[in-house]
Structure formats: structure tokens, C-alpha cells
Amino acid sequence: MATGTEPPGSTTGVRSPGRAAIAARHLRTDRWWLSPAATAAGLLAFVVYSTWRAFANADYYAAPYVSPFYSPCLAENCVPMEDGPNWEIFGSWWGLSPALLILVFPLGFRLTCYYYRKAYYRGFWASPPACAVAEPHASYSGETRFPLLLQNLHRYFFYAALPVAGILTYDTVLTFRNADYAWGHAGLGTLIFLVNIALIWAYTLSCHSCRHIVGGRLKHFSKHPVRYRLWTWVGRLNARHMLLAWSSLISVALCDLYVYLLATGTFDDPRFF
């Protein structure tokens, strides 16, 4: 009638001396592994896709669309883009894909983002794999030491992500042209870019650092009514930070994929007007 659970051999975590002697590392009966597995798979897919595209150094421009992975394009080896984000700050010595120059910033922003941290700590490092499921690591120091102490730099990356989002907005404006750079046109790509930039902004502004900067750091909201209102708005967005993180991740990849399909001639941009 009883299921014996001998005082276990290992003596850490939930099996520490003094705690209820239960051999199982967890007793969850639901599919707790589904969420971290799906997270890991999703992130992995993006990493693989974006690595390929970032190193490809090709097929990132199909007038009037520039892939968000390559904008702004900061080296001389960039494809010339009419009125586009060609700023040759790095001159001619840069021989690698120009995407690598700029992707550092959005990548750093997402890598230090409070949501993504949760996602990859759980999904990749199993720290913890799920709530009340014992993690496999022998010791844990969290974000108290280098390198994870650097997660505190999230705010720098937020500051950097703002101009990047600004430039992508500019790129989106440029999509209201046709392939001959005539203004007043739009195609399916324009729509995709619009959706993407909306999601990028929503994700960027819903950031916890942003919420803190606009008002969270205040002690007396009543003395700063405008910032209080901003904080309230950002707070509302912030509640959907996870949703925005995923949807903007997907939209930016789709944007790039769309440009790739156009640039390789696999697909023709349907024009609305």
C-alpha cells in the first residue's frame, strides 16, 4: 500500500537533509516539459535562420525593400540602396557581411531582455526547466557574477535599440515606393513591413527598462502626472511583453524572408497601387 521512498543518496536541492524524503526530483504529472521544449525549438529555429541570413551577405535588398537584418548597412560592401540606409561608417576594410555590424544591437537587446532571459534560462539551461522541477546543476549563482552580471546592461541595449527601430521605421517609409523609386505606391511587402515595424516598436517600448525609465523609478507619481500616464501605458504593453517578443521575432524573420524571396526572384511582390 505504501510506496517506499528511502532517505535518498544525493543530498542537494529537494533531497537536502531535513527535507521530506522523496526520491523523485519532481512529482509533476502534467506536460511540464512542453513549454521549455517549444521555447527552445522556437529560439533555435530563429538562431539557425538568422545566422544563415546574416552571414549570407546576399539577397537582402529588393527595391524598395531592405531586409531588417541589414539595416542600416554600415560598410562599403553594401548593396547601394536609393535613399536607403547606406552609411559607410566602416569604410572598405570590413569584408564580412555588413549584417554582423548592426545585428549586435538588436541581438544584445533581445539577449538581455527580461523575457528572453526567462525563456532561455528555462529552455536551454534548465535553470529551472519548469517550476518545481529540480534543475540539474550542482551550484547556482544566478546573475551575481560575470558573465551573467552583464545582464544589467539591458538598459544600454534599450538605448541602442531605439535608433535602430527609428531606422527600420525609415525603411518602412521607403517601402511606399515602387521598384523604380517612385513614391505613392505600396505592395504586399509594404504591409509586411508596416506590421513588422509596429511590432518592433511595441516590443521595444514594452521593455521593462523602458517602463522603469519613463516612470517606474519615481517615488511620487502624483508629482509627475505625464510620466505617470506614460508609465501606465508602457505597463499595459509590458504585460504583453512575451507575446510581443515572439511576434516581433517572427515578423522580423518573415520580413527578411520576404525580401529574400523577392531578391532571389522566387516570388513577385504583389502591388496594391
Partner: protein
């Protein structure tokens, strides 16, 4: 009224060891797990140890783990389980066990003592306190806490690493630091106490890797991670890592001198 026999597996034992013991017990419509535990006491195991008080989700006494998930026994309805499911009930596994479902939660009371209390503002007498609703709302959310310690139980920082208990206050008490730091009239700073610095250096805020299990288990639905821990981390950044804030402070200091 419909009744059925449920299969329960309850951990019985004490610090010297124990085991999951199987029981078959009658369940009536509309009951919660605590009702079933009480029926076990009254009919089969009069000495089954369990803590409980209000049975209305307001006191936070009956914390335990049901099918491996930290929950309040009184807030877990039997209707969420299939009738043929075996329901496993164990004590909280982050704390030393006392007996059966009762654990020694003194860790939490020790941590509570380490958080410096509210510092009243100088020169403001009783009855003279003036605070706006929007200024108190953030801290009020944290004061909904019923101290069930489920967040402390689920937090892997101490659940999976006993050795971190000394350095880490746990979500409940880091939230208490946030509550006081956001209290509109707390005068800790004037009294020379920097709650942000101590959050990082003395209460182990850096151990938190914001994986949100505390928020997931909170029976009061307090947004512990988003509204207390992350804002607290950001406040620490203000103090220690932000270049613009540093620049602003330097300029202001120059102006005043």
C-alpha cells in the same frame, strides 16, 4: 449530490524519513483538497499533520504541493482532477519537514527580520500623512501578500540549492524591499539606508534569474516578477550601472555645490 472514491497518495513521515502512503477516500461535490485531507483525518488518520486556518485563501497556512505543484490546499478544487487520477500531496519541498504535510518555515521568518522596517518620515506626525492613491497602489499590490511562502518554496534558487539560503532572501522578501522602496513616505534614504544597494548586496537580488515561477504560483496573483523584482533590478541599475543617470546626478551635484 454525487460522491466518488478518490485515490490519494499523501506523504507521511518526519525528518527521519517517510513515504508516500495510499488512501482511498470519499469525495463530495464541490470540495477542495483540504476538505478531503480533513475527511482523512476524521475517518482514517486522526494524526495526519496539516496546517490550515481560514480555508478561504486568505491566511496562507495550508501551503503544500499537489501533484508536484506548490498550491494552497484550500484553493485547489477537486473538480480540476479526473476522478480516476491519483492525487499526490506532499509537504513543501524547499523547507525542512516537521511532520507529514507540515514544514518548518522558519527560514522565512528569519529573512523577514533581515529586511529593515519602514522608516517614518521625520517631522510628520500621526494623522499628518498625505499620500495619493496612485502613489500607494504599487506597494498596496505587494501588501496583498498572504505569506503562504509558495513563492519561496518554488524558487529554484533555494529549492534546488540549499547553500543559497544564507545569501538569498527569496521572492517574498525581495518584494518586501520593493514595497518599502516604493512606499511614498519611507524615509530610509534620509536615515542613511540605501534599500537598493542592500537589495543587491545583502538580500541577493542578483540570484534571481527572473524565471517567474514565483509569479506563477502566487495565489494572490501578485505580479511579483514584473512589478517587484524587475523594477528592483532596474533600481539597482540606476545606482550602479546606468551612464545617463550617473551623468545626470553628476551635473545636478555640480549645480548644487
Amino acid at each position: 449530490m454525487s460522491t466518488y472514491d478518490a485515490r490519494f497518495r499523501v506523504w507521511r513521515g518526519d525528518v527521519d524519513g517517510g513515504e508516500l502512503t495510499d488512501y482511498t477516500v470519499e469525495v463530495h461535490d464541490g470540495e477542495v483538497v483540504l476538505d478531503v485531507v480533513h475527511r482523512l483525518q476524521a475517518t482514517q488518520t486522526p494524526d495526519l499533520a496539516v496546517r490550515w486556518n481560514c480555508k478561504a485563501g486568505k491566511c496562507g497556512s495550508c501551503s503544500a504541493e499537489i501533484n508536484g505543484r506548490p498550491r494552497l490546499l484550500c484553493m485547489t478544487r477537486m473538480s480540476v482532477f479526473a476522478r480516476d487520477e491519483v492525487i499526490t500531496v506532499t509537504p513543501m519541498r524547499a523547507f525542512p519537514v516537521v511532520r507529514d504535510l507540515v514544514t518548518d518555515v522558519s527560514f522565512n521568518y528569519a529573512k523577514a527580520r533581515e529586511i529593515p522596517a519602514f522608516v517614518p518620515p521625520a517631522g510628520v506626525g500621526p494623522g499628518e500623512y498625505r499620500m495619493r492613491q496612485e502613489d500607494v497602489e504599487r506597494s498596496q499590490e505587494f501588501r496583498k501578500c498572504i505569506e503562504c511562502f509558495l513563492c519561496q518554496d518554488t524558487c529554484h534558487v533555494v529549492r534546488d540549492h540549499e547553500e543559497n539560503k544564507g545569501a538569498f532572501a527569496g521572492p517574498r522578501f525581495l518584494m518586501r524591499v520593493a514595497e518599502l522602496d516604493m512606499h511614498p513616505l519611507d524615509a530610509a534614504e534620509e536615515a542613511g539606508l540605501d534599500r537598493r544597494r542592500t537589495a543587491q548586496e545583502e538580500h541577493g537580488l542578483g540570484y534571481c534569474n527572473i524565471t517567474k515561477c514565483c509569479t506563477e504560483v502566487c495565489p494572490e496573483s501578485i505580479h511579483i516578477t514584473d512589478n517587484a523584482l524587475i523594477p528592483m533590478k532596474e533600481r539597482v541599475v540606476d545606482r550602479k550601472y546606468d551612464p545617463l543617470v550617473w551623468l545626470g546626478n553628476t551635473i545636478r551635484r555640480r549645480k548644487t555645490t
